[in-house]
Structure formats: C-alpha cells, structure tokens
Symmetry: C2
Subunit: 234 residues, 2 copies
Amino acid sequence: MDALNSAPARRSGQLGEEIEERIVTGVYPPGMRLDEQELATAFGVSRTPVREALIQLASSGLVEIRPRRGATVPEMSADRLCEMFEVMAELESMCGRLAARRILPAEQARLQEAHQACEAARDAGKPDLYYQLNEVFHRCIYDASHNGFLAEQATALHRRLRPYRRLQLRVRNRMDTSFSEHAAIVDAIIAGHGEQAAELLQKHVVVQGERFTDLVATLRQMNAPAAPEALATP
Amino acid sequence: MDALNSAPARRSGQLGEEIEERIVTGVYPPGMRLDEQELATAFGVSRTPVREALIQLASSGLVEIRPRRGATVPEMSADRLCEMFEVMAELESMCGRLAARRILPAEQARLQEAHQACEAARDAGKPDLYYQLNEVFHRCIYDASHNGFLAEQATALHRRLRPYRRLQLRVRNRMDTSFSEHAAIVDAIIAGHGEQAAELLQKHVVVQGERFTDLVATLRQMNAPAAPEALATP
DNA sequence: ACGATTAATCTTGTATACACAAACAAAACT
DNA sequence: AGTTTTGTTTGTGTATACAAGATTAATCGT
C-alpha cells in the first residue's frame, strides 16, 4: 500500500497535476500499476476524483487505461520516444518559422531576456535552473508564433518529454551547446530568417532525441530505481 | 430537457464517441451547454459515465469544462480554425515527407488502392462517399510515415476538423480539385520525392483553411440551425 | 422604483455503495 | 503429473446520495 507516498489532500485540478508530476519525475515509473483505491487513500480523497484524473491523463497519453484492467504508466519504448522527438522537432521548427515572420517588438525583448537568463544560469553552472529557464525560452518562441493552438500543442508535448530531456541536460556539458544553439536561433528569429530558424530548431531538438544509445541508457536509468516487480517485461 | 435527443443506452467507450459524433456533426452546436443530468437521462445512464466522457472529450479539446460552471461545446472562432488548419497542414506535410522516404511496397499498393477508390466516388458524384474515402486516403499517408505517434496526432486533429472540412467539400466542385491534388501527392510519395510531397500536402490542406470568407460563412452556417438559446453571446 | 443583499434552487464535485468482470488459486478430473 | 474447471478475491464500472459553490429570484432597504 505504501508504494504510493501519502500526501496532503488536494483539490480537483490539483490532483491530476500532482499525479502527472509524479509520473514525469519518475516517482511512478513506466510500467507501474496505478491502483485507484491506493491512490485515493494516498491522497486522502475518494476513488471518484482519482478516476477522473486518471481518465484525463489517459487522454493526453500520460497513463494507459485498459478497460476492466486498470491504469498503468505506459512504458515508452525507445522507438516511441524517437517518434515523439521527431514530432516535437517539427512543431518547434514550425514555431520558429512563424515566429521569425510574426514576432512583435515586445516579444523580441522577452525572448532576448529569456536568452540572457539562460546565459546567467549556464555561467553559474546551475543545470536545474537552466532547465527551467530553457522552458521559458522555448515558450517565448511558441507564443511568438502567434498561433495559439500550435503553442498549446507544442507546450503539451514539451511537457510530456520533460523527464527525458531533463536527464539529457545533465550528461556532458549539454548546457553549453544548448546555449550556443539558442543564440543562433534568437539571431535567426530577430533577423526574420524563418527557414533558418526552422532548421536550427529542428536540429536543436533532434539532437536530444536522435541518439539511440543515450536514449536507451536514459530509459534504463529511469526504469531501474523503483517498482521492482513492474519491471519484469516477459 | 428534450434539447438533447434521447437514445438507446450505450456502453462505456461508446458514450464518448456518441457525444463526440453529435458535436462534430453539429447536433450539439458550438456554444451549447452540456448539462450532465440531461445527457445522462438522454442516454439512459447515470451522471458518472457522462462526466467521465465529458472529461475525456475536454482533454482532446472537443468540449470545454470550466470548474464549477459545467461543460460547453467550445465556440471555434475563425481565427482559431485557421490556426488549427495551419497546424494540420504542417502535420500532413510531415507525414508526406516521411512517407516518401519510408513507405513499403504493401503500403504503396494500399495508397494507390485508396486513391482509385476516391476516383470512383468522384466519377459517381458521391461527395459523402468521397469524403469518407478521403479519410482513408489520408490515413494511408499517416501510416506510411512509420511514425505511430505522428499518425495518432494527425488522426486526432483530422477528426476534430472533420465537420469544417466536410462542408467545404460540398461547395464548388472541390471533389475534382481535391482528387487531382491527391494524384500529384501519390506520385511524389511513390517517386520518393519527400519535399515535393510535403509541399503538395501543405497546399492541399491549407487551401481548405485559408479562405477566411468561406470559413466564416461556414461557421455562420453551422451556428445558425440549432440551439437558439445557447447562441446568445452576451 | 431601483439597487443591494439574502434566500432558494440548481448544478457541479465528491463520497459511498453495489454489481459485474477478470485474474488468481485450488481442487478435481483425465 | 498436467490440464481444465470452478470458487474466491480483487478491482473496475455504474449508480445513488450528499455537500459545496454558483446562479437566480425574491425581499428588504434606501
């Protein structure tokens, strides 16, 4: 029963976000069974809100519900992850292309501001902070595309890929290369070079997803620590 | 209470699809309030499965749930629709580019088969049938991209845009132009010309979304017929 | 008569209860 | 001994009941 940590009771929308957080941070690792009753007692609520949260998360792909067989955290194969990064790259690329054409002066300022904040984090050698500011940076580009629907889609996918991207930032000095790539991207967007921005963003994202070995290693690393019984893959 | 037609009782997953169907076919028009109790009695089930279905539909954007204020069919502005078509065009384009590189012989056969089926529907002058086979055709391309995640995303968005695309097919002789565009797309994919396929698909989709006047007219037409009280936008 | 405040009603959000289906285990039969 | 069958148990799916917030209506005050 104590596989799921107990936590203070939360309100409606909060519950889903808390479960999502625990999934993307690996507290509930891929393959883990999510028992409604357990979650309910763990969060100090009844089964109903838990069920609704799980259904919501299932629609966005973060959990998998099979009828009459309960909910589990889906195991993302390396293939699947590559597919998702491939799509992410295209969405980011599109955002960049549109942003270069449509960005407003105020948004230019915010973009450069976010970029400089990243620089500070890099210089300070704080990968966690950099990771956080990196999200802000990318969101600036999404917004500058002036396509609200696209921005939503990109944000959602970005969120889903968070845990995998996060681990990648730690290895090597990815922070440095990431930042210099950012610099080129900012220049292209400000200069209004749509295709160039698109290309740069495509590579920027693909780099994170294309190395099979790194990814598989990342996956193994994420699967290892917790849920010993759920990891048997027969 | 009889704003929502009564229907025979359905089982779990079916309910969500039935509601979705009624939304995309305009039986539940944009702006309409979806009362849980009404839907429950209309479908002959309790509020619980209705609620779950609504939550699921909300995650995919087909209904809008505001906390403590119930569910409504979201009003899609012309702007919003254009945004969605813009993204759809990019996804289709990406599918085409990948398909040209990765399509297998068996998939080539299925693609051409679907294309010929469309031709038959056009020659027979059956827009409804063409519309249906058009979906099959596009799904062939999604699958041929060999990116399952991308295929899922494209399919989902395609579904959401269904009602708007459908109306567009009726006006003019869109069937003819659509079919000849399809022909060029098939050729490009079979020939392995990724960029060309991407471009053609981009235009093929954008054509449907880019004409503001047509779209706005379409929207008006959809808003007009039903739900007289829900349409008041104060 | 009009506006504000309060009461009533309605709808959502949550909890509890029950029914059925699936997985597991044990026993009987081949 | 292996396999099938049946009983038990666990957990999901649906229904109903209750509580809290929101909307509407009515009443009171200015």
